[in-house]
């Protein structure tokens, strides 16, 4: 199992099957047999990658939430000029299936949306992904503002992926850039 492409394909197939099953079943009802059956795959393949259903489920939701964060990052990086292009549905890095899973995840109470919180808390790391071009002095000087800005941005924007409307997100991104200009006058948000 050294082939990471194959691994990614298997993971994607399992996610698709999982999303299909979740439409009609409770999260605790789905078994490995059902999942692999739906994905048209053997149980052995499943167990090569995951030791049990819990591990798969966690891996699945962690992936979904991380992808959602990356998607928000891309929207931000695209900047004002890239708004048009970045929000076309075909340019989303999160496909319909993963967005369905994300919607399901956000509607669940039982997991206390653990991955969601910890992703938001990875903000400082995430900030550096967005912000290669900023000086350390700028980041240091504005750490409080930047933390609040990015936390607000992520928490406001991520839920849009559950029911994606490019019109809505574009309007909100315009607001975001307005807030950016107000908070950090003269500082460009990207290169």
């Amino acid at each position: 199992m050294n082939n990471s492409n194959a691994d990614a394909r298997i993971f994607r197939r399992l996610r698709t099957a999982y999303a299909q099953l979740l439409q009609e079943n409770g999260i605790d009802e789905i078994t490995v047999t059902e999942l692999t059956g739906q994905a048209d795959m053997s149980r052995a393949t499943f167990y090569l990658h995951y030791s049990n259903m819990d591990e798969f489920r966690n891996e699945c939701f962690r992936h979904i939430v991380t992808t959602a964060l990356r998607q928000c990052g891309l929207w931000f990086e695209a900047g004002r000029d890239g708004i048009e292009e970045a929000h076309k549905k075909k340019n989303l890095i999160m496909n319909q299936n993963d967005r369905d899973l994300f919607r399901f995840y956000m509607s669940q109470e039982i997991y206390k949306q653990y991955h969601y919180i910890s992703t938001i808390f990875d903000m400082r790391t995430a900030m550096h992904i967005f912000t290669d071009t900023w000086s350390d002095a700028f980041i240091d000087e504005n750490s409080g503002k930047l933390t609040v800005f990015f936390t607000g941005f992520i928490v406001n924007t991520m839920p849009n992926l559950t029911n994606y409307s490019s019109k809505q997100v574009r309007r909100e991104m315009e607001y975001i850039f307005e807030i950016w200009d107000y908070l950090f006058p003269g500082q460009t948000e990207n290169t």
Partner: protein
């Protein structure tokens, strides 16, 4: 005062005390009535279960929070606190400075401690809704104003949650950021089409 309200507050206070070491899900009515030193029948005359007590507590808390947030964001009516940058202050002290009662602080800490995203979101939703009429009154674009309110509330609450989870403290940079905000500068009246 109405006897039921006295009872309600008495029971709610007892619940707050129990929440210091428990979660809502694990507290039993017997525990609560024992703590409040009342009979079970008195309890059931006032509330139907623990969750109803918690809701009562939460609504009360929301009202005071909204009041403070509105003062903070719209009227810049802020007590004199913390001026040193990049210091971590105990959360309880900060909440206290902003006029939250000790029981509100206890509830806030409970929400943070248990990562209760659903209720925190509810608080933010209420805040967002409450800004709409205020924005209209002031001649701001209500859609933009309410987005902005949500943005700031989310940013603040979740940043606090992060620093709180780490060490029961709140980063004063976040508070200073709030103090420096001028909502009228970003929302010129009638600016939208």
């Amino acid at each position: 005062m109405d006897k039921t309200i006295v009872n309600k507050n008495h029971i709610a206070d007892a619940l707050i005390e129990l929440l210091q070491d428990n979660t809502v899900e694990t507290i039993t009515v017997s525990q609560l009535t024992e703590k409040a030193q009342i009979g079970k029948s008195t309890f059931y005359r006032t509330f139907s279960d623990i969750y109803e007590v918690f809701d009562y507590l939460f609504c009360d808390f929301c009202e005071r929070c909204l009041h403070i947030m509105t003062k903070l964001f719209l009227y810049k009516d802020v007590p004199h606190v913390l001026t040193e940058r990049k210091t971590l202050m105990p959360a309880a002290e900060i909440f206290n400075q902003f006029g939250l009662l000790p029981k509100d602080t206890a509830l806030m800490q409970y929400l943070f401690r248990t990562n209760n995203i659903r209720l925190l979101k509810q608080l933010i939703d209420r805040f967002q809704q409450s800004t709409v009429p205020l924005a209209q009154q002031a001649g701001f674009d209500p859609q933009k104003a309410s987005y902005f309110a949500r943005f700031i509330a989310n940013g603040t609450v979740f940043s606090m949650l992060e620093s709180y989870r780490r060490q029961d403290t709140i980063d004063t940079d976040i508070i200073l950021f709030l103090l420096s905000l001028d909502i009228t500068a970003i929302l010129p009246g009638g600016d939208s089409q």
